[in-house]
Symmetry: C2
Subunit: 442 residues, 2 copies
């Protein structure tokens, strides 16, 4: 017995994965049956911190994806290509796949899972969302008897780190980003993180699992945190909110039209008593709401070698456990093992989820206005919002900036389309100089 | 195909369980293969809200535990007997068991799992800890590759509700308890909850899973919340802490003696920035710390029909999924299905965990003293603590009560045995009138 792993990539997460597999003492005994058989790297001569025989290394990644002796291919090279092709090749060669690659799964999940179902293999991706936090497995198993109403979370550590520091220090975005880059918490090119693209990838994956349908990445509305200012964080704080970059997937109307989803990533004012409000720094958390379980939240480190490797190896273990059941079963019958799809671990949905346009979203809004300091301005704002059926929860003149009165508005729940029309009308008001920020409120 | 369930008990959780099984639309399709075959109740004539044929009901619970047509027995009657005997009987008749019964598992887990391993069946208990929160399954699967250093949590909703209201209202324990009883958040006899016994049951189960060894319930040190006063909550708040009833299991010394555990349930001063500090009301949360995953927290409703039923049915589904794999495998070979133990779902450990005595615990302490208002009192306290190698982090005279000076001390991390000896010495000081409270600090 024993299961052979082919590791594609030995970077940070690959090394963390190898470290767990090579040091099984004090961990689950099934680990001892898993062998790192081949490791695909760019340069076999590079010194490595993990103790693997030099014969295990190869630069021929395709040879690993097709090696008949390998049971599970673990893809940790990241990026779109050759990751996608290698995953597909491994699947066609009847290998189970474990990946941490959110970008490939969110873009090519349909192609990959269709191929996996045809080949009768598993594609596991716990590490693709939330680092070491078990959230994919609970969605596929422990929560699977629920009708999920929403999945929302803080799924990008870099932006949460930046927002947490902006909040703590009263600092502006550009300043904290520069420091985060210096400290290694943000990449030199921070686009994928700060513009919400990484969070969008993860949301597409979470939504697909939670709602049992495929999701197109381009259906995820996406807004990053570049526009969030120190001023907005301060005003939000005074109003009882913390600003977080949330990824939110929810049924637009659970009773009337349960199949219509809303998918969005944007900065959000989160009430301070909400469980997501106190998730700070590089931590991630995902809040699932289902019938009948209610609210359940999963919290932990969303990145890093150790946490991500924990998720990768747990996926390897899930597959190994099933293979072992099949193997013993086959031995009992004196037969060759047959791969049988585990009903909860394999992907069963094939239709695409229907997505509601953002204009149909019902939410509260926070908006900040710079106005001429003249009587009646608040009345004008109120009238314009009223003209478009947007009712206001609070209107506060916070102070003055550059000689303009600074007015902060929080609306009641309104249709986004109506709110946008009201803003268009307000922009034409002579008394209104600028609208520096508009943020949705949870 | 199809799997037959025998339900023992149709109370709150039993009814919630039946409601999920009878209404599979929008949930995982595997649910449709699960049939409620028999229901054991005390009174078959009682009107029921769930739509089950009257022929399914019986008062003969033993007949369900032994019925050859039943695949999975779901024990939801609670209490020790006849629950224990029925579970054992079902196991001996080769039935898989799902239970929400923490009391039976924490006391008779060794007997039950030994029997289950001999019979080759699963005993699943997600619902026994944390209601609907997936925590047992992550400990058995997603986190199983980690070396766990600690598991701690808020696992009793009643006490957390009481402490949250005491904090919010500045009210005393007895007052809030009476109101909680009136509102149905606390039982008429609140002993199991407020004295920490329910939390101790759950901690024994969590520790056993996290540390891969059996745990004796009597090894759990247990202190309830009756002694927590409004004054302590106020002072803790000023010092930056929230008081929570925590259940804590951790390795005493992860490097030197990893097999020695500390198991304890007691009120605890939790720093406000700690993830458990903001878990309020009837919510539960369990924080797991492992190598290499770091801190991971699971949060949700710890009780109630819906959440608990979600956990029960998810366990049923986990078993059904494995049975289905075995069934298809057997069909492929034209053989009778053989039960094969899934390496992660079955219980593999047989040794008992070694437990360190409380005197060996290293922790910080909060203590409140009523002293005569005379110069040098703080010096006397400091000297006595120093005599026993307890160093102090802060000593604050908070104010006066009944003519005595009220002094609050927070220590640095100290050995509990030393701290207790210091307290003995302090009790003999003439200047010290009383020591109304001693609470450990996280």
């Amino acid at each position: 017995m024993g299961f052979k792993i082919g590791l594609l990539g030995l970077g940070t997460v690959g090394t963390g994965t190898a470290e767990i597999l090579l040091d099984p003492t004090g961990r689950n005994p099934l680990l001892q049956e898993i062998e790192i058989y081949r490791v695909g790297v760019r340069d076999t001569t590079k010194p490595r911190t993990v103790d693997l025989p030099s014969t295990a290394f190869t630069t021929d990644l395709e040879a690993i994806a097709t090696d008949p002796d390998i049971d599970i291919v673990v893809e940790l090279i990241g990026g779109l290509e050759p990751a996608r092709s290698l995953i597909l090749k491994a699947i066609h060669h009847k290998k189970h796949v474990v990946t941490a690659n959110k970008a490939v799964i969110s873009r090519y999940g349909d192609e990959i899972f269709t191929a996996a179902n045809e080949a009768g293999v598993y594609v596991m991706l716990e590490a693709a969302v939330g680092g070491g936090i078990p959230v994919i497995q609970p969605l596929k198993q422990a929560l699977v008897v629920n009708r999920i109403q929403s999945v929302m979370g803080i799924v990008n550590g870099t932006t949460n780190y930046i927002l947490t520091r902006m909040q703590a220090e009263g600092a502006d975005f550009a300043e904290v980003l520069a420091d985060a880059q210096r400290l290694g918490y943000a990449e030199a090119d921070p686009t994928a993180d700060v513009d919400g693209l990484d969070a969008a990838d993860k949301l597409a994956i979470l939504a697909s699992l939670a709602f049992g349908g495929r999701v197109k990445l381009e259906d995820v509305y996406c807004e990053g945190i570049r526009q969030v200012s120190a001023a907005d964080i301060t005003y939000a704080d005074r109003l009882g909110f913390t600003i977080k970059l949330l990824a939110i997937a929810h049924r637009e109307s659970p009773t009337d039209n349960p199949d219509l989803l809303q998918l969005r990533v944007h900065p959000t004012l989160v009430p301070k008593a909400h469980p997501l409000a106190s998730v700070n720094g590089v931590y991630n958390a995902i809040l699932v709401e289902g019938d009948p379980v209610g609210q359940v939240m999963f919290y932990g480190r969303g990145a890093g070698a150790g946490p991500t490797a924990s998720a990768v190896v747990s996926d390897i273990m899930s597959i190994a456990a099933i293979l072992k059941v099949e193997e013993i079963e086959a031995q009992q019958f004196n037969q060759q093992k047959v791969d049988v799809p585990h009903p909860l671990l394999s992907c069963s949905h094939q239709h695409y989820c229907a997505i509601a346009p953002m204009a149909e979203l019902n939410t509260r809004f926070y908006a900040r206005f710079l106005c001429n300091d003249e009587p009646g301005v608040i009345g004008h704002l109120g009238t314009s919002f009223g003209n478009h059926q947007v009712s206001l929860e609070s209107v506060v003149q916070i102070g003055f900036q550059d000689g303009f009165a600074e007015i902060v508005v929080v609306t009641h729940e309104s249709r986004e389309g109506n709110f946008r029309q009201a803003l268009e009308e307000i922009r034409t008001l002579k008394a209104v100089e600028r609208i520096p920020s508009v943020v949705r409120v949870l």
